[in-house]
Symmetry: C2
Subunit: 353 residues, 2 copies
């Protein structure tokens, strides 16, 4: 089974050995905090899903936040801040989409060096406003500060239609796993940006755009909810890592058929020129902001029909299997197929979102 890998994820360990943030990792830190977080009486879903779900007099509100830091999430030297503002909002909208909800209001925190040109900040605001307009989000407040590097934080409220939502925790054995769209384009675009390579053709242009201007799958998320999806996540950390998050929260494993992971024609054509492995980018490259969806087998044709009716590809990539995430931690590399190992595989990447 050379194209399959058994996935699960320990979600970061609360290891006593970790002495600094680099050792602990992002997921370790979140796990450490979540373990001692107090539960709220109106909290239906707390830390650990794409968004929180809270009850407001019977309405189910979704609440999420995403942070972008210069030098970590974008390259200051080459970034048009309009792209940064756009993506800062879209990454939050994508989290709402992954619950099956629709976005509503946000607050924006912005910190920047005092020497930042006003024009650059105007561009950031333009990009953010463009995304807000595209997704029906209202910016209702914010905060600003000086800082040595640029920080943009968006906190977004959404609403779960008719009080229903899809978390990461409902995947069950024998469910099928589907994804929207294609994978690896954004990572291909990032390779180009890191190499300061100008797009040589329309394929390469498409990859850079996928990285800089992702879209959130709001309608597709709602369609998956309506189709009876049992678990859903937006793929921001990479497909393998994010499926691992579903495994962890659902207490299952996922048998991923890597050969079925959809790759765009543009990436397939451009990858060799970039010296990159398209499948590797598709499996572990992050920031595609596509959805991964678990659905009972008998509902899968309905899911596909609903998503494809939106003009979006919907592909089966795997199956949910019995698994115990306490004992099956990390992905199985024993078959030697882990072509994405050099990216760090399912291990938390330092500084990754």
């Amino acid at each position: 089974m050379p194209d399959a890998a058994r996935l699960s994820d320990d979600g970061g360990t609360m290891t006593d050995e970790a002495t600094d943030l680099a050792t602990l990792g992002e997921f370790g830190l979140i796990g450490r905090f979540a373990a001692t977080a107090a539960e709220g009486s109106h909290t239906l879903t707390g830390i650990g899903d794409d968004t929180a779900v809270i009850d407001v007099d019977g309405t189910r509100l979704l609440f999420t936040t995403d942070l972008m830091v210069e030098g970590v999430h974008f390259l200051s030297s080459s970034a048009d801040l309009a792209d940064v503002g756009f993506k800062a909002l879209v990454s939050n909208v994508s989290d709402i989409a992954a619950m099956g909800g629709h976005p509503r209001e946000c607050v924006v925190s912005l910190a920047a060096p005092p020497s930042t040109p006003v024009e650059a900040l105007d561009r950031l605001w333009e990009g953010l406003s463009e995304a807000a307009s595209a997704y029906g989000v209202t910016v209702v407040g914010g905060d600003t500060s000086s800082a040595p590097v640029l920080f943009v934080n968006v906190a977004l409220i959404g609403e779960a239609p008719e009080g229903e939502w899809v978390g990461r925790d409902g995947a069950r054995e024998d469910d099928e796993v589907y994804v929207t769209g294609t994978f690896g384009d954004a990572a291909g675009g990032l390779v180009m940006l890191l190499e300061e390579r100008s797009p040589g053709d329309v394929d390469e242009e498409r990859l850079v755009t996928a990285h800089l201007r992702p879209r959130a799958r709001v309608a597709e998320g709602a369609a998956a909810l309506a189709a009876g999806a049992t678990a859903m996540i937006d793929v921001s950390d990479g497909l393998v890592a994010d499926l691992g998050h579903v495994c962890e929260r659902s207490g299952v494993g996922i048998l991923l058929d890597a050969g079925e992971v959809p790759i765009s024609a543009e990436l397939a054509r451009a990858a060799p020129r970039l010296g990159a492995d398209a499948l590797g980018l598709a499996l572990v490259g992050g920031e595609d902001y596509e959805l991964a969806i678990a659905v009972p087998a008998e509902r899968s044709s309905d899911l596909v029909a609903r998503v494809e009716a939106l003009g979006t590809r919907c592909s089966r990539v795997g199956t949910v299997v019995e698994g115990d995430t306490d004992t099956v931690a990390g992905h199985d590399r024993s078959d030697g197929s882990a072509g994405w190992d050099h990216f760090g595989g399912t291990e938390p990447r330092e500084g990754a979102r």
Copy 2:
């Protein structure tokens, strides 16, 4: 009238001359963004008040965010991150208090250098959790990243009781202006921290605590709402600056009787030893997180009774007067009484929150 100064505020200008953030200033940047922000159909109050007010199926939710950046809002060299975490939450709770609401759920974004000791991050979380517990706030999610400096952002939802709230925009001519508590203690504590001076007695200890561990006036804010307050703001930027924000939003002036601004006995005793002017600290020192409240004269005794029933001092400090903030920009220094001029007066301070 040597102890009075006429205040108003132009709220930052959208000056065409500003070429970078330092020139534009925080309030200039916010004004620039707010001028082009789209209005939302569920937005009852948007950018420019202590919090936004949004309608969620008839419930009025309050929504706010506050960020803290190492080297700007706290001194990395001396900070116990428990204090930073505590204050990051309290500054948000204070914004909810200034609307007369009560806080509910928050999301937290945290970015830190990879070398940050895990123990320090645990302390930050402990302080934040302590404040969350004290104010009945549930942490429901967050995001983390690496960054060159520590960055903490909290976004907080609150609720307006019975759909009522007090904004910054309702102050009317002849209203009286009251404040809770005392002013300048936090600034006195900051002077000590900046001079790396250890508290020499209980007075100095109290000032440092006021700076590091402010409390939010939630019950007092609710009391002011119940008493019929017309405008309210929490004093984080400094009394003069924040009253200026009320002037701007309400389209009025405020005649501040500086001699009536309450100063604690501790600050009065410690200020000479610090080489500081207690009144100056009280007028322009920020981060006291007390409330400033405009109230019709006939409701003022009720306001005082309600606030003092909570064990909190409530002092009259001024009167709302006719004013046109389009033409009376900046505070009037013509009487030569502006003892706080060396702090920057009502001008936006670069990098200040």
